[in-house]
Amino acid sequence: MSVRIGVRPCLALAAACILLEFAKAGAAAEIPLAERRSGYDLMGRETRAMQDDDATNPGTLWVLDGEALWNAKAGSAGRACSSCHGDARASMKGVAARYPAFDAARRRPVNLEERINFCRADRQKAPPLAFEGKDLLALSAYVARQSRGLPSEIAIDERTKPFLDAGRETFYRRQGQLNLACTQCHNDNWGKKLAGSIIPQAHPTGYPLYRLEWQGLGSLQRRLRNCFVGMRAEPYAYGAPEFVDLELYLMWRARGMKLETPAVRP
């Protein structure tokens, strides 16, 4: 009995020390605002040229499909996105730079893809588009394209703070069979190489983006799932609130950085 009493405070103290060390390490590891760099700056000249020119950026194919979907009627309400929102070039300018955004009715942040599907359900009376399906990627690429060149501006208030904290917690939490945290690569070792690839700082400013490895356009959640699998951790499902919290934290972490949608990455 006396042994158990003796061990417990010791364990608690050790745990507290470890937590303290981790908190210190975490605070020190955050990249200073002025030193943040888009993955664009870390990639090769040819890939940058490919992104810069709409005539060679394959993301343009999705953006044009998205424009067609924007103007196409869908659902039993017989409305298109443009019926309410008009010309996306004006009405959607800067919108993607504010997502994930707090949804008052659902009392949580929602990302752009979810917002599109909620709009479909509520206003168009149309079935939701599948995550990572061609149509949802095209529509979100078209909407986010209207914010290209604008800075990410995530507003954090008392409603979104708990979700931001949850996302940050996920970013700093070691997980998976490799026992890695996002921060160990993307804060502590960015710019170095993991196998042949340069580790970026993980700023999600170009999504949905065209990844040459994917041979197609993909969402941020697809990329996050890749990272989770790489850590040998079980990824959350598409649309999971944990993913949206992490997206919120990453977009806040990239606050002020310019959107590049549709970006091209190796």
């Binding site: 490919m50 020119d53 709409d54 005539a55 060679t56 394959p58 343009t60 194919l61 067609a68 041979q215």
Partner: protein
């Protein structure tokens, strides 16, 4: 949607070398990959690309497996006269797309 994009300068000087850039949305499935159950995924690629400038063929490509998805084909020609630049893609499973761009030569 079988989308394709042709990009040429809207206008050029006579005799100027212009670049034509094209993109076609296509999965370019090689025919060598297998599903998780071991079944071969049938080949589905673009086989041929042709560019016609005012009725005359100026550029042609035969494509084979191992060309990346959404192929970007860029090439140059001499701007000789105003008119149309027509690009045609044709491939497996009846894939056929034609896109046209206009050019003004002065």
């Amino acid at each position: 949607m079988a989308r394709a994009i042709v990009n040429v300068p809207a206008q050029a000087r006579r005799g100027e070398i212009i670049e034509i850039k094209t993109l076609a949305a296509h999965s370019m499935e090689t025919g060598f990959r297998r599903t998780q159950l071991g079944e071969l995924i049938p080949r589905d690629i673009i086989r041929r690309f042709v560019c016609i400038y005012n009725g005359a063929e100026i550029f042609r490509v035969d494509l084979h497996p191992a060309v990346a998805a959404n192929p970007l084909i860029a090439f140059t020609t001499v701007a000789t006269e105003s008119g149309t630049i027509e690009c045609q893609w044709a491939g497996d499973n009846g894939y056929a797309v034609t896109e046209t761009a206009l050019i003004r030569v002065e």
